[in-house]
């Protein structure tokens, strides 16, 4: 079972908080986006192994895939 983690806002990737392949718990920060001088944390919707789909400085749109939790 895999869960898609999508961006809620248009922005750019400021910081990758966990390594690709890391194990996270529900509610952990995976990535921090930046948009309009605001930091927007992207949170794991479920626990599992993180497969990152973005790199630092990547520009993302609302709904874009940030990571998959396996």
């Amino acid at each position: 079972l895999a869960a898609d983690v999508r961006s809620e806002v248009p922005g750019s990737v400021w910081k990758i908080v966990v390594d690709d392949g890391a194990t996270v718990a529900e509610g952990d920060e995976i990535v921090i986006l930046e948009s309009m001088k605001m930091e927007i944390p992207v949170i794991a919707p479920a626990g599992g192994t993180v497969r990152l789909k973005v790199e630092v400085d990547a520009v993302v749109d609302e709904g874009d895939l940030i990571a998959v939790i396996e």
């Binding site: 806002v9 248009p10 001088k37």
Partner: protein, 442 residues
């Protein structure tokens, strides 16, 4: 008087400064990044110069480029607006060293007040109350020791900060340890300075600030207060003047305290002293001084009849102010229209497809956008400020409802819907709200 001004800013505040320049017959020079070439502030200025790429660090924060362009354009003065380089002492120095007038306080005042630990000391020496606080804290361990001595809950603040960035409330050792790490990284990134301080958190307080003017002859006058208690993420959403429910005696004490702080540093120009006020205990505490024009300055202009930008320019030129003998009085409220969703206040950049502003008696709009403009993710999400003025708070609130209903923006989400909701909130309507109001609504 000054004959030409370069406005080192964008959006609504650049337009605001240009408007006064035009009225006074002063030549205005706009600056713009590649993202803003078609913006209203560029169209409305007498001249304009490109200063770089869209990212603020490559344009609006390039003090060296701005000084060079100001000299090339023959500007007599530089007005920084708010944000960007407005509280950057080095930039102010560079403007003066290049032989131009800086529309703001001296570079040394900017530096003195820009550091919150230092500003607290200045206020204390001037006999103005501050909350219990720490000196500089660099590690979670030092923070925990300091917090235990001043008592939880505490507020964590970047010493060189502003705009609510990096601020957090901590109720115990564990929360504080976590808050310190986050705040340090945010402060280092946003302000280039990771220094933090702690202050006692004052629950149930109002955020009230006082507008001061340091005149060319060295005297200080205050122009009333503004209540800024409606905040999200420690950032203001709505401001009003006078502050509802503030007893006259307490108001008088606040104005005197602000004048004392300003006098202590020989303040020049427009500035704002921020305080936390507990209406329950009738006590107040100095928070910080903003050494620039404030976003919410229009509500002070509406009730005093003073053009604050004109006074800033007159003071910079060494001239006496033009303060009206009689003030319009009444009550004024500002609603910040941000490109954010009105529920969670997440940013909403995009292209504006519809922009219809309300107009009429007692309504003032300071906006930076129009239909077909792009709201990019490079800058602050402030689109416009809707200000309403009425004979009293009740009539200002009634006018607010009509104006907000008539303000139509499509293509990006905005905080207009939040403001409509606020006008249904009993605590706000009764003027009994505190800085926790928005959190209590969400």
């Amino acid at each position: 008087m000054i004959d030409s001004v370069l406005v080192a800013n964008r959006g609504e505040i650049a337009r605001r400064v240009i408007r006064t320049c035009r009225r006074l017959g002063i030549r205005s020079i706009a600056v713009y990044s590649e993202a803003d070439a078609e913006s209203l502030h560029v169209l409305e200025a007498d001249e304009s110069v490109a200063i770089g790429a869209p990212a603020a660090a490559e344009s609006y924060l390039r003090g060296d480029v701005i000084v060079e362009q100001a000299l090339r354009a023959g500007a007599a003065a530089v007005h920084p607006g708010y944000g960007f380089l407005s509280e950057n002492g080095e930039f102010a120095s560079a403007v003066e060293a290049a032989g131009m007038l800086w529309v703001g306080p001296t570079p040394s005042t900017i530096e003195e007040m820009g550091h919150k630990i230092n500003a607290r000391e200045i206020a204390k020496r001037a006999g103005v109350p501050v909350t219990d606080g720490s000196g500089r804290v660099d590690t979670p361990e030092a923070a925990v020791a300091a917090a235990r001595s001043i008592g939880y809950p505490v507020m964590v603040k970047p010493a060189a900060g502003g705009g609510g960035i990096g601020m957090a409330i901590a109720a115990d050792d564990a929360e504080l340890t976590k808050a310190i790490e986050t705040a340090q990284s945010r402060a280092a990134r946003a302000f280039g300075n990771a220094e933090l301080l702690l202050e006692t958190y004052v629950p149930g307080a109002r955020h009230v600030e006082v507008q001061v003017l340091g005149l060319a002859d060295g005297s200080i006058v205050s122009l009333g207060e503004r209540d800024c208690s409606v905040q999200r993420r420690h950032q203001k959403l709505v401001e009003e003047t006078p502050s509802p429910g503030l007893p006259d005696a307490l108001r008088a004490e606040l104005l005197t305290a602000a004048e004392r702080v300003a006098a202590a540093v020989g303040y020049r120009g427009a500035g704002t002293c921020e305080f936390l006020v507990s209406l329950e205990t009738e006590r107040f505490y100095f928070l910080e001084m903003n050494t620039r024009l404030q976003v919410e300055h229009p509500i002070t202009e509406l009730v005093t009849g003073v053009d604050l930008v004109e006074q800033q320019l007159r003071i910079a030129a060494g001239l006496a102010p033009t303060l009206p003998e009689t003030r319009p009085g009444g009550h004024a409220i500002e609603y910040r229209i941000y490109a954010e969703d009105p529920q969670r206040f997440l940013p909403s950049p995009g292209t504006i497809t519809r922009w219809d502003e309300p107009s009429g008696e007692g309504i003032r709009i300071d906006s930076g956008f129009r239909a077909d403009d792009k709201v990019t993710l490079h800058y602050d999400p402030l689109l416009a400020k809707l200000c309403v003025h009425g004979a009293d708070r009740e009539s200002a609130l009634a006018r607010s409802r009509e104006a907000l209903d008539a303000f139509e923006v499509e293509g990006v989400k905005t905080t207009i819907a939040f403001h409509c909701e606020l006008l249904e909130n009993e605590a706000f309507l009764a003027g009994r709200h505190t800085t926790q109001l928005v959190a209590s609504m969400r």
